[in-house]
Subunit: 395 residues, 3 copies
């Protein structure tokens, strides 16, 4: 019986596990290895920061949803992968595998910029439940004692959506509380222009965001890399100094240490169209862990985002490929990756669709509409229900 190990218990990991179980039933021995016992619906972390969600609203116990489905769960951090021996080392175990799916997400590389990050630095962050909870505290302090905020993304980031969402949400909330004029908001980003999002923009996204920011008095500073952060200000490589009271800056992304040796210089894993490692044929990588080349070089380097939506798609392709191989069937030929994105804007939202993800595209949609907000609210509940019940299908 094939032993399939999945590294990571988030969008990619759980979807791959469920999908493999669905396709292979008891013909495979499936194990999920993750150092986090929780599944967090990451797209809702901005809402947690805003105080619109509690942690328990958006988390599930991985243990509970896997075990009774016959999927093993090892709650330990992988330390190393030895591809030649097809095994993983944790600090305590050696886990052999016939197939490995890597879905480990990003390593948040705060240390690349002195003073960055909530642990050893002075900036907040939105990418983990703990960081978000902490940012939520800072936000509460701003509401009591207003002052200048800086939101945005450092160089080498490959996830821009949450920073945009928070800029819109905080603007909307501050206006609702009639205190917007007490909180100057700067949007600082490594993107060459607003709405680039690491993918050269989506249709009219540049003008769309520029207009929205002008209308909402959010001051953009684009195409910038951060040199360092002090307790009071962000210093850019070009010498500009930006004072702040709250700074929420996405850090550079890298591959996590355990898998980085299998990847490119930044630790992202090169794969083929089926998400199979270009060198190690029984290793697959999906989500942020895998490498997508940017569509164009940018003055300040940025990465291509991999959304939950995209990660789920990748996980299913990887699972289908492994299942077909085990069952000796014809391998699936996946269509080019497309993406649907719902960007919350506080009092409204934007629906984005790009097919494929990178330009040139056959189809691009960008619509601002209140129904996009409802879709986003509904999708959160739907996806958590789906994960809880071990369903991997649509979407």
């Amino acid at each position: 019986m094939a032993k399939i190990v999945i590294l990571g218990g988030s969008f990619g990991g759980l979807t791959a596990a469920f999908e493999l179980k669905r396709l292979l039933g008891n013909n495979a021995d499936i194990t999920v290895v993750s150092d986090d016992e929780r599944f967090v619906f990451l797209p809702s972390l901005p809402w947690l920061i805003m105080g619109w969600r509690r942690p328990e609203d958006i988390t599930l116990k991985v243990n509970e949803i896997l075990r009774h489905r016959g999927i093993e769960f090892i709650c330990e951090a992988a330390k190393q992968i030895i591809p030649e021996a097809s095994k993983i080392l944790t600090s305590e175990k050696e886990i052999p595998y016939d197939y490995l799916i890597i879905s480990t997400g990003p390593y948040l590389s705060f240390e690349e910029i002195p003073g960055l990050g909530p642990e050893k630095g002075y900036t907040d962050c939105t990418f983990t439940l703990d960081h978000a909870a902490r940012t939520g505290q800072t936000w509460k302090r701003i509401l009591k004692n207003p002052g200048p905020m800086v939101l945005g993304s450092a160089q080498m980031v490959s996830c821009f959506g949450p920073s945009y969402e928070l800029a819109f949400e905080m603007d909307a909330e501050l206006r609702k509380r009639k205190m917007r004029h007490k909180v100057p908001i700067i949007y600082l980003t490594s993107e060459p222009y607003l709405g680039h999002m690491g993918v050269g923009g989506f249709g009219k996204s540049r003008r769309f965001i520029e207009d929205e920011f002008a209308e909402r008095d959010i001051k953009p500073i684009v195409n910038q890399a951060i040199e360092e952060v002090t307790p009071e200000e962000i210093r850019l490589k070009d010498g500009t100094k930006i004072p702040f009271k709250l700074a929420m800056i996405a850090p550079p992304f890298k591959g996590v240490p355990a898998v980085a040796p299998l990847g490119n210089p930044r630790g992202f894993i090169p794969v083929d169209k089926n998400y199979r490692h270009t060198k190690h044929k029984n290793i697959f990588a999906v989500g942020v862990a895998m490498a997508i080349a940017p569509p164009e070089p940018t003055p300040v380097p940025v990465g291509v985002p991999k959304t939950g939506f995209m990660t789920v798609r990748m996980a299913k392709t990887a699972a289908a490929t492994i299942a077909a191989e085990i069952k000796n069937e014809i391998l699936p030929t996946p269509e080019e990756l497309s993406v649907i994105c719902l960007m919350d804007m506080g009092n409204t939202a934007a629906f984005m669709k790009a097919k494929p993800v990178l330009p040139p595209r056959q189809k691009t949609i960008l619509k601002k509409a209140i129904w996009a907000k409802w879709m986003k609210l509904g999708f959160e509940r739907y996806f958590l229900w789906k994960m809880k019940h071990g369903l991997s299908q649509w979407p």
Copy 2:
């Protein structure tokens, strides 16, 4: 009985006088000192230039509206203020005061740019009744004998609205007369971009003006300072030469000589939130005479405009503060200054609201609509009626 002297008989001066009378009745001796016997509804000067108003349509005799209300009017120019002695000198009188309100408006500093201005130079201007009447003559000549026009603002200007209005109005009138193609219009400004207006723009104002100007074939030249003006052309600091037949250029603003020694290097008077001089406790300053720091440095220096609307608000706050102090009541704590602005566009108009005046703002509205034109037409009549009847209330 407290003796209150008000320097200036325009928006700020008259409003302060009426408001003090309303609050203090006969418990104060109120004197208005101004070298102009007329109150001119300055926002209508562009219409006077266009030939849509006569001087008598938009002026009142200050004398007539003050005297029978028990407010003294001295029609002389103040020459000097001696704050240590609490008195004002004119060429003939010494006027002592317990409280002084300075509402003297701008000194139009044509001499800072060789060749600028209607008196010793070659450009027209829109800021006084006499200048406007003269500009109206130039405009008539253009209609008979068309040629290139340059409208806009030099460096150090802090009133951009009338130049925008005239650009729109002249464009509309020339189209109506089917001769727009004979009159190239250049809009030359010290603002870093169109629609900045000295306040970093109002919401989408940049894109709004850019689009309107593109549609109307008005060619913008922004972010420029003027070196000198010759009879035929405007020479910019960067060497560009702009030929013209009519040039209507707002000159640098300063404080008027009599009050300038109390102010900052450009003669604008530093005040606290109640418009009280930061050093001389019995002197207040409102309107253009007082100093507001720009929200951000601009490559070419520009000032923050103080509209009639804002000046009236300031005058009322200053008056209320003085009245409270005299009556030994609690001083008013004014809310941050906001502004409503109606910009005529010839065949339509724009309604602008900013709360507060400077970014970041709680609220910004920018709407182009024909009702804004009707509002503007109505407001002129309403305000003149109000002044004539000594009313200082709303707005």
Copy 3:
């Protein structure tokens, strides 16, 4: 009897011939000299490239439509004009004239840029029936074997419309075939910004085209001159290299060799308001052959386009002037040239009107609407019918 010779058998030449016949009847001896026996409705060449028209749908035999109207047709190339002797030389004939109308269109100066053009180079072109037919073949190959395309205009071009049309049409067709994502489209132009079109733009044309291109994923590269073209890439003067599979680049325009000695350094003929040569009083020039100074210098030199619509207007003015002179009547005083333009956008179209052609303008209209597409479809049929029946009137 006055002998009038017309060089050129396209929009300008045929219109002038018909109009002279209408005005002078048998009182003039009218001869058309052209080396092309066909009249081609050039505005439809983009549709021919797209495969939406066959050559026979958009061509007429000049011979057939001239001869039975009593207009002589000499199908030879003019080699030289001898204005002092009032005669034209072809390789075989000497043709004397009393009046000469030059309507020879552009000389496509591919040789100014190494590697440019379909004959000795590697790029396609849209300006002649043969070039367009060939480009149609390249387009078919792209549809079978997709790859990157570059569309646009080199330096010194004075006809930008067809390149814009093709960008829109190809984008629309590729989307219809669900293969747009396989064909990156770059729009490379010498215009200082999108929508400039050699005339400083039409109202909002810049923002209009920028938004449309963003929405359609057409990547603009503006304000560029081409250094050379190799089989695989276009090399710009600034060093940029743009790879391509199909490149359709409008070449520099010049006057055709036979008439160039009468013109400015680029061979375009200077004329007065009646299209009469500024020096040779019995020579007229209309359409692309005549010189219009650009409304403003541009960093990369571009020319003012002369559309079929404009050329027809010019031809009628020239004809009316000659007829009046022959009949000893008062010469017509033509109004300033205006233009109506219908730009196909594949699945829609844009209607543009500028009056006059060059800014500042009394009137500018720019509308995107499906009715503009219907107008364009109808106009093609109407104009061909008109030419076939020797009608020169409206429009």
